[in-house]
């Protein structure tokens, strides 16, 4: 690669042009690279092995303090304590994950258009006003979780963003039904898939632009949405302003950000991001043995149940003999939360907890219980069972992508 590519360390092609001719890279020696990133706070993620330190950054627009996994394209993790504050994740704390570094930094609401094309009667070019004022407005609470959330706990480890558990969030999404948009265009007989793309672009020519697709029946199920607001506000740019696809109960890879193109296909979608990326083994819990062959790999799809303790941090000291509140969040994945139980004896006896207000089956749900810690070492395991009767896995899964982590979490505490 030539000098020009080397200088292209900006954010977009536009900023590349602005920066061309600017100075070279600051070379940082030794292992001090992370601490050198300005005088920002460091946090140690509770990962079992590998580098644990991350910068806590406040440098990103419309974002409060976030855990920096990568600057460009941005990967920002929600600090876990945020999840103790309620079931809705504030927009300025909501996790961020981009695949390609060419991300528009300006969006003009007057010139933005959403195109609907392909196997339809009438191709559309919709303004934001057409969408906001011209179609029925709907709302839905739904968890948005990265396929690789918790990848940092994968054993043996796999390459990829070494997230702790904060590549997830829950918001009340407001927008329109995808079905209503597709009906306006008129889907022709024989349609099979609907493919979605946004304004972001690969840095290099010929690289696969991020596009994801859904089966036509899924796209028209009345649940999949195009959101223009989250938690009552327009979306932060890094969460997909002005429009984001909402696919309730499915992993975030389908929740296309800065959505500007909807293409109805009359055949299968064989493009890179459906055919070759975000694949899981077609096994229960998407688990396999490292190196195992002969498995069918399929696109990742529905989420599975998870639950977390949010008010007690690993290693904290509790007061022995004193009533202690333990609480957290849970979600059922592709359906609601039926129950959340805790175990204090390593998983032999499971005790019920009380669930908080139901914000809808795709939402986080709070749970709470009280116990009296007696011994020096206390472990709290938490397990969610969803409305389909599917419980969290007792043992971690493994696949080469580090996807669909959902094993039962355990928090180790001491009592004194």
């Amino acid at each position: 690669m030539g000098e020009s590519m080397r200088r292209m360390i900006g954010t977009t092609r536009r900023s590349f042009l602005r920066q061309a001719g600017a100075g070279g890279l600051a070379l940082v020696s030794g292992s001090a690279w992370i601490a050198s990133a300005r005088a920002e706070t460091l946090i140690d993620l509770p990962l079992p092995e590998g580098p644990k330190a991350r910068v806590v950054t406040t440098s990103f627009p419309q974002k409060a303090a976030m855990i920096l996994q990568r600057t460009r394209p941005p990967l920002l993790e929600t600090p876990f304590e945020v999840f103790d504050r309620g079931v809705f994740t504030p927009n300025d704390s909501f996790f961020v994950r981009w695949h390609w570094a060419v991300i528009p930094t300006e969006v003009d609401v007057n010139t933005f258009r959403l195109s609907v094309c392909g196997h339809v009667d009438n191709e559309l070019s919709m303004t934001l006003k057409d969408i906001v004022d011209g179609l029925p407005r709907v709302e839905l609470a739904a968890v948005n979780q990265c396929s690789g959330n918790s990848r940092g706990y994968t054993a043996p480890p796999v390459a990829g963003a070494q997230w702790s558990n904060g590549a997830m969030g829950n918001a009340k999404w407001m927008g329109v039904r995808l079905k209503d948009v597709l009906d306006r265009a008129g889907v022709k007989r024989g349609a099979e898939r609907v493919r979605f793309a946004g304004l972001d672009e690969p840095v290099v020519d010929g690289a696969p632009k991020l596009m994801k697709s859904l089966d036509i029946d899924h796209a028209r199920d009345g649940e999949v949405m195009i959101a223009y607001a989250m938690n009552g506000e327009q979306l932060p740019l890094l969460n997909g302003f002005p429009l984001r696809l909402i696919v309730p109960g499915w992993y975030s890879t389908y929740w296309v950000k800065m959505l500007d193109r909807i293409e109805v296909l009359n055949g299968p979608d064989d493009t890179f991001w459906m055919k070759s990326a975000y694949l899981i083994p077609d096994t229960s819990g998407a688990t396999m043995k490292p190196g195992q062959t002969g498995l069918t790999m399929v696109p990742i799809n529905k989420m599975v149940p998870r639950s977390f303790v949010t008010n007690l941090t690993a290693g904290a000291t509790l007061k022995a003999g004193t009533k202690t509140t333990v609480r957290g969040i849970a979600f059922g994945g592709s359906t609601g939360v039926k129950s959340v139980e805790i175990s204090l004896d390593g998983g032999t006896l499971w005790l019920p907890t009380v669930l908080g207000r139901d914000e809808g089956k795709y939402s986080f749900r709070q749970w709470q219980a009280e116990f009296v810690p007696a011994a020096r070492v206390v472990s709290v395991m938490v397990r969610c069972t969803n409305s389909d009767g599917l419980a969290q896995r007792a043992t971690p899964n493994w696949n080469p992508g580090g996807f669909m982590h959902n094993a039962i979490e355990t928090v180790y505490l001491t009592a004194a």
């Binding site: 080397r6 570094a101 906001v132 709907v138 709302e139 223009y228 509140t325 809808g360």
Partner: protein, 132 residues
Amino acid sequence: MSLSAAPVGFGAALLAGLVLAIIGHPEPPGAPIVVPAAAPVPTGAPRTFVLKSVSVDLPSSDIAFPGGTEAEAINANCLACHSAGMVLTQHNLSKATWAGVVDKMIHAYKAPVAEKDVPAIVDYLTETRGSK
């Protein structure tokens, strides 16, 4: 609302004396139970919702891969598409795994990596974040 689930059969000493009390969610008793709909529902939000244009600056990373001449190939070839941070927080992976990652960058993601630089990049990754 408060109730206790009596602990039964807790052999482990660490659990002796445990009492689980369940406390209700802080909602007023007798509040009407609203069962949320499964599908998105018409909203009671104000009729007008106005989107405003946005212009932001995204930070760029000034961090290169540390090291001397052995980092030249990775700095020259890899930073155009992504900053260094996430690479440096990877677990220790085998040389074969790192070679696979570099191959994926070149062939799946079309990274314009000079063929002659590939061995130096794989060596750097194996040295910096490799299984020992």
